[in-house]
């Protein structure tokens, strides 16, 4: 079971993500939305990524939601005040607004974090290619994902070069900033300069070919994917109907 979910076709998982996002937006209240964190946690456990999922969630969505909750509840003025302490006033409408707002962020954030933990970008790209998306668009998406590690590696090289010339690159924040800011120019300019040669590399690899590209390692939908997709769609439609119209 541990490896079953990550192996699913990206769109199978995407249906679940889409369904949960739509339900989170349209279903009133906040219990359903908050419960999605637990659903995503269970899915993450089944996918074998619970630790990474929890860590990422706490570092990102939890902090953002907490911040919004505090601001909305204690600092934004609302009617129907139910308690106060110095300048902080808590109102029932403010509390309700905070819960509604943060619950949606938690639901959408949690399911997206789970999705990207169990789906490789190259699999998403393969699914897009199978669906007939534009090759250039897929290339831009994939190369953007590689851009950050590339630029980080380039910055490390420049930092090493600076260090070898006696420039102080470590220490307090000001020292680090002093060495970091001058690095930005060469990093950006080198990246732009390298693009020219990279275009020629792509041309040498027949990137301009108009024929539909293939995949060395094909990513295909299995029977389980078709079955699960329909089950997910029916369940999500049921939840949507029950939550919105009932």
């Amino acid at each position: 079971m541990t490896h079953f979910i990550p192996r699913l076709y990206p769109t199978t998982k995407a249906w679940l993500v889409l369904g949960i996002i739509l339900c989170s937006i349209f279903i009133p209240g906040y219990w359903f939305q908050y419960s999605i964190f637990l659903v995503a946690l269970v899915l993450a456990m089944l996918s074998g990524v619970a630790k990474r999922y929890t860590s990422l969630f706490l570092k990102s969505i939890f902090i953002i939601s907490l911040f919004i909750f505090i601001i909305q509840t204690f600092l934004v003025y609302h009617d129907h005040i139910i308690g106060s302490w110095y300048i902080f006033k808590v109102s029932s409408t403010g509390l309700q607004a905070s819960l509604t707002m943060t619950s949606k962020i938690v639901a959408i954030g949690a399911i997206l974090i789970w999705f990207f933990q169990v789906t490789q970008v190259k699999d998403i790209a393969a699914a897009m290619q199978n669906a007939g998306w534009n090759k250039k668009l897929i290339f831009v998406m994939l190369s953007t994902m590689q851009l950050i590690p590339q630029m980080t590696s380039m910055m490390n090289t420049i930092a090493d070069a600076q260090r070898s010339r006696g420039v102080e690159t470590e220490g307090n924040l000001i020292t680090r900033m002093k060495s970091f800011v001058p690095m930005l120019g060469p990093v950006v300019l080198t990246s732009i300069e390298q693009n020219e040669e990279r275009v020629l590399t792509l041309e040498s690899r027949a990137f301009s070919n108009r024929q539909r590209p293939t995949l060395m390692v094909p990513v295909n939908k299995t029977k389980a994917d078709y079955l699960l997709s329909w089950i997910i769609i029916i369940i999500m439609l049921g939840i949507f109907y029950w939550g919105v119209f009932k």
């Binding site: 490789q120 190259k122 790209a125 290339f139 994939l142 190369s143 590689q146 851009l147 590690p149 590339q150 590696s153 390298q194 040669e197 990279r198 275009v199 020629l200 590399t201 792509l202 041309e203 040498s204 690899r205 027949a206 990137f207 301009s208 070919n209 108009r210 024929q211 539909r212 590209p213 293939t214 995949l215 060395m216 390692v217 094909p218």
Partner: protein, 287 residues
Amino acid sequence: MNPLIELNDVLYRYPLTRKSALRHIQFKVTSGMVMGIIGVNGSGKTTLCNVIRSFIPNFYQGDLQGTVTLKGKPLNQYSETELSQLVGYIFQNPFTQISGVKDTVAEEIGYGLENLGVSSKKIQKRVAKMIDLLNLSDIKDKNPFDLSGGQKQMVAIAAILAINPEIFIFDEPTSQLDPAGTTKIFKIIQQLKSQGKTVILVEHKLDLMMQYIDQLLVLDEQGQQIAWGKPEEILASFTENQTIALPTATRVYQRMAAQHLIPIATNKVPVTQDEIVQTIQNFQETR
């Protein structure tokens, strides 16, 4: 024999420059030939390769005069896809020869074939062959960006070999490689030659280059073609103190001839180690 590649009085000037990067380039390359290009830095060797691959004028604008034909057809009548299948280009800089969209070396090697719409089974077979040929099995699952310059160069060569074009342009392919890697590349060039492929080789390692090439083109610092022909014939008119470097065998021969240790030949000089040894042996036998 009809020429595979023919350049006729080619002259090229980069945009916004007054000085020509190439002047009066004129030669014919027949199928199965290994052609070497030498010249000092900035003499236009890479520019000439770009002309042959039609990156000039398709990618680099500028003023291109003269005619360039491939299989008797002007280059501008070929599509980019046709050219990528006909002419494989291995660039000088290994750091920009990675597509940037593949996670593993094996996938990187197969990228060109994917773009050409080759079936996955055929790609996997071809990639496995290339990995085997270039001894890349230790790094086949690594991210191409995590490789050293030499390893990246090997991957780039494998990626072009996988496409199996008719013509190969190697622009200083061994600049980042260790001696073992360099030997491997020249063995591959030898294999390509035996398979009847046409190879255009820009290389500064003259001693190695001379063992494999059939014809040599010499460019001066102005981008002007100063010699074209069989290396042993055209290098006979060059001396050691001229701007182009000479192979060790030719230099040894010229020094020995200058000291009257061996007779001076005006029309042919040894260009490889084997040839200089043979020349000395022949001379000793005739004494």
